[in-house]
């Protein structure tokens, strides 16, 4: 059973990697709902610079960090397809590592198993489904 769970995790991660690594290149480049709402009232040139009008987006300030992966690309990599795809793959792996690692650290230990002698956890596995929690 535990083996099958890990199979599901691996399968799900492959789907996520495919979406972030490949499909992401076919995403719409239009501003999203929030961004477009903040741009309402301004006019923009071809480089996406504000040319006139008045809108909340004018107040936008630089990001504090930026960094080599800023804006879902890899700094210095000229191939857009690779740049977006690789940054997506790195993001998926990093998010899984951070979230999965943190959740693993704070998880409830020794759940449902009888408080036996240490080391017998695997032997006590089969009956857990039937008993549930108190």
């Amino acid at each position: 059973m535990r083996k099958r769970s890990w199979g599901f995790i691996v399968g799900g991660m492959l789907v996520a990697l495919l979406l972030a690594g490949v499909v992401s290149n076919y995403a719409s480049a239009h501003p999203d709902g929030l961004d477009s709402s903040l741009r309402a009232g301004c006019t923009f040139d071809a480089d996406d610079e504000i040319t006139g009008g008045s809108c909340p987006a004018q107040q936008e300030k630089e990001h504090e960090i930026g960094g080599p992966l800023a804006d879902y690309g890899i700094a210095g990599l000229d191939n857009d397809f690779l740049s977006t795809g690789l940054s997506g793959v790195l993001g998926v792996l990093l998010t899984f590592a951070v979230a999965g690692g943190a959740f693993w650290l704070v998880r409830r230990r020794g759940s449902a198993e009888a408080p036996d002698a240490a080391g017998s956890r695997d032997a006590a596995q089969p009956s857990t489904a039937a008993t549930g929690q108190g």
């Binding site: 769970s5 890990w6 599901f8 995790i9 799900g12 991660m13 789907v15 996520a16 990697l17 979406l19 972030a20 992401s24 995403a27 719409s28 480049a29 239009h30 501003p31 999203d32 709902g33 929030l34 961004d35 477009s36 903040l38 309402a40 996406d48 809108c55 909340p56 987006a57 004018q58 107040q59 936008e60 300030k61 990001h63 504090e64 960094g67 992966l69 800023a70 804006d71 879902y72 690309g73 940054s87 997506g88 993001g91 998926v92 792996l93 990093l94 998010t95 899984f96 590592a97 951070v98 979230a99 999965g100 943190a102 959740f103 693993w104 704070v106 998880r107 409830r108 759940s111 449902a112």
Partner: protein, 238 residues
Amino acid sequence: METLAMHISNGIINGPVAAIFAVIALAAMAFCVMRGRQDLDDRLAPMAGLVAAFIFAVQMLNFPIFTAGVSGHLLGGALAAMLVGPWVGALCVAVVLVVQALVFGDGGVAMLGLNITNMAVIGIAAAYLLIALLLRVLPRTTTGLAVTAFVAALVSVVVAALGFVVQYQLGGTTDLGGNLAGLAGTMAVSHLFIGIGEGLITATTVVTVAKVRPDLVYALRALKPAAPASVPAVGGVR
């Protein structure tokens, strides 16, 4: 090259309001860690890692919406609430937002509290309230599950968008000349359409997981139909 900002950028909301929401978000996440630990066992922990990674991936997939020139992307609150529960789900969305802000330059670091409050707190709360309600009243079928996921996702996106409107009212940096209604209108309408996309993605994903591994869908485990042995029938007279 166009910049891909998906979340609130620096400068949009003033510092004091951003700081207040940072405190709110921090308190909410601390509470989620406390409550989420009850749910987090050896099986849920890796699943929650996968849910966070999956949300990161799908957030990159901006889809065009009906309004010309505007796109939308998954927020992921309803999906997370459905698959790993509201407490752990909120933490999943928050981790995604933190990674995006710190590593991908998306959403100001100073604005993290605002973004977390909208998407991880308000969005998840709206989603899970609807999930808990709908799973109880709708038939326990694939259709019932799909409708639950769709409606919870759609509503959660619109509510999260309105969370931003409230924040803008409190600390927006541009004087809209009393025209907050205009901002509220564009946010609500665009996110209504985005919510349809969110609903379709959420329903498809949840139904797929439920077909493959129903035991991995938190909402199906936690919100079981009333157990006949212990709970009297609804409307039954003693």
